[in-house]
Symmetry: C2
Subunit: 201 residues, 2 copies
């Protein structure tokens, strides 16, 4: 790609460092910004800089927040006896979007993955134990993706928490609602028969 | 999508104003920037601001440039008797990337499109006529996309230029090199038979 302007080239390269954005898409975005008023680019840059400067990690649950304590931990109407352990803010947001959960969270900041060199000490596990030892928490819900790394992480956490006075639970796994059994993968379908649940009449 | 941070929300919304980027992709980009050093976001913003502040339109060909005259118009090794008329900088870059053209360009800044309300007066046609009247240009190559709007624009330009002392040409149209005839669209294949060219032995 030959650029007629060093300034455009640098802007395209900046966009192209972002995940999933190649140089052609980057050029499209840059030309879009050039078509708009100068103020649009200024607002765009300011939003990013403010975000990067101002963002903090919640001291309780490691969620990304605008203050020392995130709005979920600060919300007194939430059930403080429940903690849902998630991998990342994306999983937290997915659960929040369901509107079905009113407890607190704890973000691990990743899952155990020997291939990527992530061990238990890289995750926010000690702070979870400390939170539980404070005594208010009654149940820890493990909402970790049911992958091999996820299951390993859940197993490790369960071991760590077994001597503490909390109930452990994990999100239900099985066939999707609205999904055809025919198209469910073998592993999920097989396990959902083995781990069948009583039918509530 | 529920955000735990107003700062993140604003950054996501900023990204989501860009074409082809939805809120999920925007969130992924924002979380990517948050994972990087603060300097990465600063460099990113600076590249965009510098680009938006510093970019100019070449006074000769309307190309985007860092100076009053773009690097193509300023390049004395280029053939100044040839001008290739294109719709936009993207088409200019596509032609430059072929490495097959050593003349100058003229960017129309769009094509005639009654549906989008773009008429001849919205395009850089007067400045093209002025350039031709200076007398140095011998041939005007029309490299406009062969769509209905493109053909209309070419037709309009040809009318405008008919009394001027320049040769008019248009980029060759026909089946793609390396393409199967079987898969060529009917219109292209039909026209390429009607407008067949002598075979050079």
């Amino acid at each position: 790609m030959t650029f007629s302007s060093k300034l455009i080239e640098k802007a395209v390269e900046a966009f192209a460092t972002l995940p999933g954005i190649g140089r052609k898409t980057a050029l499209r975005l840059v030309l879009h910004l050039l078509k708009q008023e100068k103020a649009v680019t200024e607002q765009f840059s300011t939003a990013l800089l403010n975000m990067r400067d101002g963002i903090r990690e919640c001291q309780t649950c490691h969620n990304l927040a605008d203050a020392e304590i995130c709005h979920i931990c600060a919300d007194t109407r939430r059930d403080r006896t429940l903690v849902c352990v998630v991998e990342s803010i994306r999983d937290l947001m997915a659960i929040e979007d369901t509107g079905q959960y009113r407890g607190l969270y704890h973000l691990l900041g990743g899952i155990i993955s020997p291939i990527e060199g992530i061990g238990p000490s890289d995750l926010n596990i000690e702070s979870l134990l400390a939170r539980i030892q404070e005594g208010e928490i009654r149940e820890v819900i493990m909402a970790i993706s049911p992958t091999i790394e996820g299951e390993t992480t859940v197993y490790y956490l369960a071991k760590k928490l077994q001597d503490l006075d909390v109930t452990l639970s994990a999100i239900a796994r099985g066939v999707s609602f609205g999904g055809d059994l025919e198209y469910a993968d073998e592993l999920t379908l097989g396990r959902s028969i083995v781990a069948r649940i009583p039918y509530n009449r």
